[in-house]
Amino acid sequence: MAHQQVHQRKGHVQNRDSQHHPLSAYLWVWFALFVLSVLSYLVDYSNLEGYPKWGLITLLMLLKAGLIMAFFMHMAWERLAIICAVLIPPGALLFFMLLMAIEGQYVLTTRLQNVLP
């Protein structure tokens, strides 16, 4: 009985581990990635400037990255432990980016003060 249970569990685990997913899921993600790439190319084509342009670029970039991570890299089907272990540390990078952006603005103003009268 116990042996049978272990055997069943093994079968279940292997099934989860080997990532079987329908072909249509991959094809839809693939198609969506093409569409999003065309859209981000169109952002460059359109004469948008400033925050609307940067916002759209960032949005499309994050959508593409999310699709690749979630479906091509199978993140959507993994357990929460590995998802958090991979996705939370890069949050520190966002903080780092913020710090450097603030510092960058300061450096720029200092340089301009030396250049301008």
């Binding site: 990532q19 460059d44 670029i57 991570m69 091509f72 993994e78 929460l80």
Partner: protein, 236 residues
């Protein structure tokens, strides 16, 4: 990589499952093989490297008092007399996304033990990756011809060349290594090494179809990095 708890209790899903996993004995990542955990650890470290390069690029672009060269003009291509901005980069993006799609399908057919299709898809992925590198070589030589150097360029801020060559060069190196591994994996799949579990010539590890998935993780990561480079370097 079958995990069996001493109690034989089924794994909890969701948040409760995560708390259980992290507070458990011996291993935190249930249902995930060590190979996959290690590949993710490598990818995470690579994310930090690329992010530091991109943040450095952001920093020099913010602080530069000279105007930054306009991407859609620098990377434009003359085709039949017409001036098309970012044409080469757009094609490169589509080639890399296509290769990501063929890679995802290769992983799927690998787990279905479809040797022929898996090998062909891996080969297609490698060829698309090779095409990408080839187009990058063309882009580099064109820019070098126009006078872009790591220490200066004809259009503006001197740091443009330094960040461009560093970031795209590092990414191109990743693609090249990936292409090499893809060719090796295609041969391994085609001759049936993953089915028979024969040891590899370098590490001696037994062949498993999970190897295709791990290589796939690396390849998708390379595509992922290109998504960020495309947005921050070429479109911004």
């Amino acid at each position: 990589m079958a995990y069996s708890a001493p109690s034989g209790a089924p794994l909890e899903p969701g948040l409760r499952g995560m708390v259980d996993d992290f507070s458990s004995d011996q291993r935190a990542f249930k249902d995930v093989s060590w190979g996959k955990v290690m590949m993710w650890a490598f990818i995470l470290s690579d994310i930090f490297i690329f992010a530091c390069f991109l943040i450095g690029y952001m920093q020099v672009r913010i602080t530069s008092t000279a105007p930054w060269p306009i991407g859609s003009e620098v990377f434009a291509l003359e085709v039949a007399g017409a001036h098309i901005p970012l044409l080469l980069i757009a094609i490169m993006t589509f080639v890399l996304i296509s290769s990501s799609g063929t890679m995802a399908l290769a992983v799927k057919y690998g787990y279905e033990r479809n040797r022929r299709v898996t090998a062909l898809l891996l080969l297609a992925t490698a060829l698309l990756g090779g095409t990408f590198v080839g187009m990058q070589v063309f882009e580099w030589s064109k820019l070098i011809e126009e006078g872009v150097r790591p220490w200066g360029n004809p259009w503006g801020a001197a740091q443009f060349g330094a960040t461009f060559f560093l970031i795209t060069g590092f990414h191109g190196t990743h693609v090249s290594i990936g292409v090499l591994c893809l060719f090796i994996m295609a041969v391994k799949v085609a001759r049936g090494s993953l089915e028979t579990g024969s040891p590899g010539f370098l590490t001696g590890r037994r062949g498993r179809y999970e190897m295709v998935e791990l290589l796939g993780l690396y390849w998708h990561f390379v595509d992922l990095v290109w998504v960020f480079i495309f947005a921050f370097f070429y479109l911004w």
